[in-house]
Symmetry: C2
Subunit: 190 residues, 2 copies
């Protein structure tokens, strides 16, 4: 891909996020995104299959899922399952970290659109299933692995929400750690 194309993709993404935020996802057309980005509709479709894909690039979600799974798979066997998972969630934070403003815009757009919320849930359900599979291969029973994976997704969502709401722009990993410490505190009691 040439530099020009790579830049076109970035311009399209910024234009789409801005328009979805201004007038809503449902009320934005591909033609408007292309116009705002200063490219043709044809260029849009070279980068994205449809306007939803700007928010859910298939390779992006898969990369994060692989990062999550491979980090958990290679975490020291001595770690409690939830701490192996924490390492995975923190790893997922690194690429997010560099795109906090886009992540904030994206989260607000998704929260406002039922179809996108459904899509986001499907993505997280896929992460949960991949995580459960990995934990099972680490030796957890299938039942405990599913439970741990689903709880991990709750921890991720909460850490993510706190991270994008944070007015001090703190890094992502401490939010994962904080949510997990809270989970331990409420689970075992005081």
């Amino acid at each position: 891909m040439s530099r020009w194309e790579a830049d076109g993709r970035g311009r399209l993404e910024r234009a789409a996020l801005a328009l979805y935020g201004e007038r809503g996802f449902d009320n934005t057309t591909v033609a408007e995104i292309a116009q705002r980005a200063g490219v043709t509709e044809r260029t849009f479709f070279r980068h994205f299959a449809d306007k939803r894909e700007v928010l859910f690039p298939p390779e992006g979600a898969l990369q994060l899922q692989e990062l999550l799974v491979s980090t958990v798979a290679t975490a020291p066997a001595s770690l409690a399952p939830i701490d192996a998972v924490a390492a995975g969630l923190e790893a997922v934070g690194a690429p997010l970290q560099e795109r906090r403003d886009a992540a904030r815009q994206r989260a607000a757009i998704i929260a406002a659109t039922p179809e996108l919320r459904e899509r986001e849930l499907i993505k997280l359900t896929a992460w949960s299933a991949a995580l459960a599979d990995t934990l099972h291969r680490r030796g957890l029973s299938a039942a405990a692995a599913r439970l741990t994976a689903e709880v991990a997704i709750v921890v991720f969502r909460i850490a993510f929400d706190r991270w994008i709401e944070d007015t001090n722009d703190r890094d992502f990993p401490p939010f994962v750690r904080e949510a997990l410490d809270q989970l331990k505190a409420v689970t075992v009691g005081t």
Copy 2:
């Protein structure tokens, strides 16, 4: 409500569950449900606003939510938050318990229909919010309360799935207890 009407409602519910299971929720009409139940469409609409309401009776969800919330609110202050929540989840199990076959049919129908999955998630999100509110009033920080409530909903869903899949027809509360014990084990490590 007369006995005749109460029975009409039960017949309509059984007819609807059977038809949704046979031909899918989307492919079933109110006319077909009424016919199978041996009543008029008008009778259907005396009991339900639409065919979705058979699966999501508003008063039913609200009763369960209140049972959940009031049990957690009145649990001994000495209980760890997650154990107060467990008492609430076990309480919700009692009314479900008497309707295991209907619960099984309902779960299969919901799993097969995206619109219904979305509706079920909305219900569980409402439970989670009500639970978070109650836990916050019990003294947890708002942040810890939200986390606990969301984890509780994961525990509930998993216990529920295991309960309807159980071929030995065991009671619901032990499934809650078992899922919680697993949560504690994976959270604190071995």
